[in-house]
């Protein structure tokens, strides 16, 4: 199993216990009095059987607080996500932090910022690079690219899922649109893996038919579920962080109620993908302070009050169009705030340009960022050995610690030394061609592409995936979608 990083100190809490209760109570109030729209007769019937007041005309269920509390209590504090290579499985929850790959619709050129439709080969290389990177523990759906040249849009999720399993042994999350969950479930089962099912709400307060169907399908397959309700503060959620916290809470709690009614005790990780709005353009404003605060309060409520594993997506993207200072400055503070407040999963590697683009060279740089954050959350130990009072006394006011056994044996574990960042002296930097971190990451990219060989599927598994994709193509063709 992949180890991840352990949060070894008290998480940062930014609201009081009383405020946590206030947000929770307001969320229950919304679900009881306003209700939640489930665009599925099957889901509504099940919820009615569990005590919800259902209006089939508006497809809304008013959820009693007791049912919400029951659903929270049934959700385990951690769950195993089995990869095709057991060594790459992960246990999400508890005090462990993992990192998830980010994604983008298209491929962005590092030097020009120009985006283009990625080929299947570029997609496969992107997966392979992330398979190589130690700090990428799991993939979301349609990763690394949303769009693939020559692949019909409706097939992009199944094909992306197939290629992730072909070029990586790490676990994946599935998708929910247009019955893609049927094929992604089959692909995972064909290689002996699980995928995290995907059930994403549509703010405000609704869950479309596709994710409802996906919930039944993925749970029937015995898979754990990733839930989310992407929204924009000031648009589909209130502009205030407190108000957005209540709306978001209510949405995710409503989804958890449905999942636990379908399969009590199922594993769930709840994602926070609440964004801020750029009030000049209406676009998403990535890397903002409001997102960081929302996520930190969210981690406090969900991880430490509800005891449910949490995922943060705020640091996955930047509004920057190229890898530059803005990109780092928008992604890193959010990722750090997420980690310090107890996130179990942070989406980070490779996403550029507001969800619209991706480049594996950035994923290589993000590997160093993830490892630095991981090192921070692990904290440090305070023992007689680590204090080393005898060494301090021995060096006194005139010696050095460099030649001590303590330094020699402990420096590697006390700090993390990034591999891509430029740490050379000025003269070395001049003499070696003034390489930037991006230059070094490009070189690393070339090295990975030319030397790294991911563990292949067996010929039988490969053939079975081909057969599943053919079946999917035929299915969508019959529906007139291809």
């Amino acid at each position: 199993m992949q180890k991840g990083y352990k949060l070894n100190f008290e998480p940062v809490k930014i609201i009081t216990d009383s405020q946590v209760e206030q947000i929770h109570s307001a969320s229950l109030n919304v679900l009881e009095e306003v209700g939640f729209k489930y665009e599925s007769q099957r889901a509504l019937k099940l919820l009615e059987e569990h005590g919800c007041i259902v209006d089939y005309n508006t497809m809304t269920a008013k959820i009693p607080p007791s049912l919400v509390e029951w659903a929270i209590s049934k959700t385990p504090s951690s769950f195993l996500l089995r990869a095709r290579d057991p060594e790459k499985s992960i246990r999400l929850g508890g005090n462990t932090l993992y990192f998830m790959n980010s994604a983008g619709a298209r491929h962005v050129d590092i030097d020009t910022g120009i985006v283009s439709m990625p080929t299947l080969e570029q997609n496969n290389i992107g997966v392979m690079v992330s398979d190589y990177l130690e700090s990428v523990n799991v993939y979301p759906s349609y990763t690394p690219y949303f769009e693939l040249e020559g692949v019909p849009p409706v097939m992009s999720c199944p094909v992306s899922c197939a290629q992730r399993h072909r070029f990586s042994t790490k676990p994946s999350r599935g998708a929910q649109p247009t019955d893609s969950f049927i094929w992604e479930t089959k692909i995972a089962q064909a290689v002996g893996a699980q995928i995290m099912g995907c059930v994403e709400g549509a703010a405000p307060l609704s869950l479309a038919e596709d994710p409802c169907n996906a919930a039944f399908h993925y749970l029937d397959a015995g898979f754990p579920i990733y839930i989310a309700s992407g929204s924009i503060m000031g648009g589909s959620h209130p502009i205030t962080i407190a108000g957005a916290s209540v709306s978001h809470n209510a949405e995710l709690l409503a989804i958890i109620v449905l999942l636990q009614c379908i399969k009590p005790g199922c594993g769930i990780i709840a994602n926070n993908f609440v964004s801020a709005m750029n009030m000049q353009t209406g676009d998403l404003n990535f890397g903002s302070a409001a997102i960081a605060l929302h996520q930190m309060a969210y981690n406090q409520i969900w991880h430490y009050h509800y005891n449910i594993p949490v995922n943060n997506t705020g640091s996955a993207f930047s509004n920057a169009k190229i890898i530059d200072y803005q990109l780092g400055a928008e992604k890193l503070p959010l990722a750090t705030a997420s980690a310090l407040s107890g996130a179990n999963l942070i989406v980070l590697h490779g996403g550029v340009t507001a969800e619209l683009a991706y480049n594996p060279v950035l994923a290589i740089l993000d590997d160093d960022v993830a490892k630095t954050i991981g090192r921070i959350v692990e904290g440090f130990t305070v023992t007689d050995e680590t204090i080393g009072l005898d060494v301090i006394k021995e060096v006194g006011s005139s010696g050095t610690f460099l030649n001590s056994k303590q330094t020699r044996t402990m420096w590697k574990t006390e700090d993390y030394m990034p591999k891509m960042f430029d740490k050379s002296s000025y003269q070395e930097w001049i003499n070696t061609g003034k390489k930037t971190a991006i230059d070094k990451a490009k070189e690393k990219y070339e090295e990975i592409v030319s030397t790294y060989k991911p563990v292949p599927l067996t010929p039988q598994q490969d053939k079975e995936i081909d057969s599943i994709l053919k079946e999917a193509t035929e299915y969508y063709r019959k529906k007139g979608l291809i």
């Binding site: 619709a105 949303f146 769009e147 849009p153 409706v154 992009s156 649109p177 247009t178 549509a202 479309a208 924009i232 000031g234 648009g235 502009i239 709005m277 750029n278 009030m279 000049q280 353009t281 209406g282 619209l356």
Partner: protein
């Protein structure tokens, strides 16, 4: 009457949604010419639109000003109709986000700016099926059809609607403008749209051009 005309401008410029309907009613009941009242509101919303374009005002200001108009205009339009007149506009636009897509903000901005620019806007909302676009274009005798798509997977819906206009024999009656994150000029050309706006203000400029207003 001048005082009421200024009050009508003020409710828009102060984003005073709560007073909008009452101010409009008071203006009409006190004998204000409804056509002049409509002009006052239109002038004010254009001012808001211009200030938004310059970056002096922000999206919530624009949307709230638009809400003021939605409350005030029905009262004034009713008075215009009683006088035997009709609403004047520079053109009629049917707008919506295509089927499968629930993103509303960009579409809403364009609708508001079009409204501010004097267009009559029929906003069909989000997740609009192709047949509903076609029906609205026919029923409303629209001058322009504006379609938004934020997802690559839904962008092709725009093409389906344009094909539908052709099949229904009404393609020549309406100009089509498309927009959204995955859309660009090349894509717009490839699906047979008449125009593409990369931003909401640019979309409005193109719509004005469609109507022969530079």
């Amino acid at each position: 009457m001048a005082d009421f005309l200024q009050q009508l401008k003020d409710i828009v410029l102060n984003f005073d949604i709560d007073s909008a309907e009452k101010t409009a009613k008071d203006a009409i009941e006190s004998g204000t010419d409804p056509l002049q009242a409509a002009n006052a509101l239109t002038e004010a919303i254009r001012d808001v639109g211009d200030r938004f374009g310059k970056g002096d005002l922000f999206l919530p200001d624009l949307v709230c000003a638009s809400e003021v108009l939605k409350k005030a205009f029905p009262v004034i339009n009713e008075a215009i109709e009683k006088q035997g007149g009709s609403e004047s506009s520079v053109g009629k636009v049917v707008i919506g986000t295509v089927f499968g897509d629930i993103h509303s903000i960009g579409k809403g901005m364009v609708a508001t700016l079009l409204y501010a620019a004097g267009f009559k806007v029929i906003d069909l909302g989000i997740n609009v099926k192709g047949e509903d676009f076609l029906k609205a274009v026919k029923d409303e005798n629209a001058d322009i059809l504006a379609m938004s798509a934020l997802l690559t997977t839904t962008a092709m819906e725009q093409k389906k609607v344009i094909e539908g206009l052709k099949d229904a024999g009404i393609r020549d009656r309406v100009k089509v403008i498309v927009g959204g994150s995955p859309i660009n000029q090349e894509f717009a050309d490839s699906i047979g749209a008449d125009g593409y706006g990369s931003t909401a203000p640019e979309g409005v400029k193109i719509c004005r051009r469609f109507m022969g207003i530079e």
